[in-house]
């Protein structure tokens, strides 16, 4: 049975078409959900794509997190459903309190669009299951605010519980602990700054993103079976 993925977009989101193409290519059934929707149409996986929701004005995600659809996303997460925020989606999840911490301006004070290497810090999550422990993935980043920050005690707890999923091999933006991706304590809500959807076609530079999406779809399928 194919997984039903909802791609939630806000005014100003711009990676939703790319995510849709890639998820369809991996066999998922995709529904697009606009920010003013109040339900997610019974999906197994929610993806918050990249972009500039509400122009990133004030702070990325600050306005978007008030969208009606975010209540549905929170409910989905609370009932154990899978949620993945990519780049701007990660920022929205942090602003919404579904993930700890905040994403600040890159330490270099410039936008960065670049291929980077990230190391899988915990290969035992729904996002990383198809990757091996410590495996290095080649993925692109594309952000101005990807500098992850969280208070010291939370970071300590996250580390202890394996909540850091991906870390930059060569920290491009000043992120605390070189963090590129995290998940919540329940292990069903993920945020990552790199764009896996841009790395699902070797012609464009890498196919490693498919490992991450594939893992999510596996996990969603497991949940469907249950």
């Amino acid at each position: 049975m194919s997984v039903r993925a909802a791609i939630v977009s806000f005014p100003g989101s711009n990676c939703e078409q790319d995510c849709e193409r890639v998820l369809r290519g991996l066999g998922a059934e995709v529904v697009r959900v606009w920010h003013d929707a109040t339900d997610l149409g019974g999906c197994d996986l929610v993806v918050l794509p990249g972009g500039f929701a509400h122009g990133d004005y004030l702070r990325p995600g600050a306005i978007a997190r008030f969208s009606p659809v975010m209540q549905a996303v929170a409910d989905h997460a609370a009932s154990g459903g899978l949620v993945a925020g990519i780049c701007n989606g990660f920022q929205v999840l942090c602003e919404a309190g579904l993930l700890p911490g905040a994403l600040r301006r890159n330490a270099g004070l410039r936008f960065i669009c670049r291929w980077v290497e990230v190391r899988v810090d915990n290969a035992d999550t729904a996002l990383t299951a198809r990757a091996g422990p410590g495996q290095v993935l080649r993925l692109p980043i594309n952000h101005f605010e990807g500098n992850y920050h969280v208070d010291a005690s939370t970071l300590e707890a996250m580390r202890r519980r394996g909540r850091v999923t991906l870390r930059y091999v060569d920290n491009p933006n000043g992120s605390l602990d070189a963090i590129a991706g995290i998940c919540n304590d329940a292990g069903n809500v993920f945020g990552l700054m790199p764009h896996p959807e841009r790395a699902c076609d070797p012609l464009l530079g890498s196919g490693d993103g498919a490992l991450l999406f594939g893992s999510l779809l596996d996990a969603a399928r497991g949940r469907v079976a249950v």
Partner: protein, 81 residues
């Protein structure tokens, strides 16, 4: 009644402020020595309706907590005129 509010949002003490540091580092080259402790935050001004200044302040502080500042990384201060 109509009130004018000012909201100052600054990076939390103890959190690095790359923008402030960058300005601080570039000042000597422009001929400004002896400048320190540069921090860069946001200043938001707005007008709102409220019964009195206290009510106005309460509403703006509410907005700060919910929207205008991110408590993980920022402090805010409200003043009403």
């Amino acid at each position: 009644m109509r009130f004018a509010a000012r909201v100052e949002v600054m990076p939390k003490a103890g959190i690095a402020d790359p923008e402030g540091q960058t300005i601080e580092r570039s000042l000597p080259a422009l001929g400004y020595d002896g400048v320190a402790a540069v921090r860069v935050g946001k200043l938001i001004t707005l007008e709102l309706e409220a019964d009195d200044a206290d009510a106005a302040r309460a509403r703006v502080e509410d907005m700060c907590r919910a929207l205008l500042a991110n408590p993980v990384i920022e402090d805010y201060r409200v003043s009403i005129a």
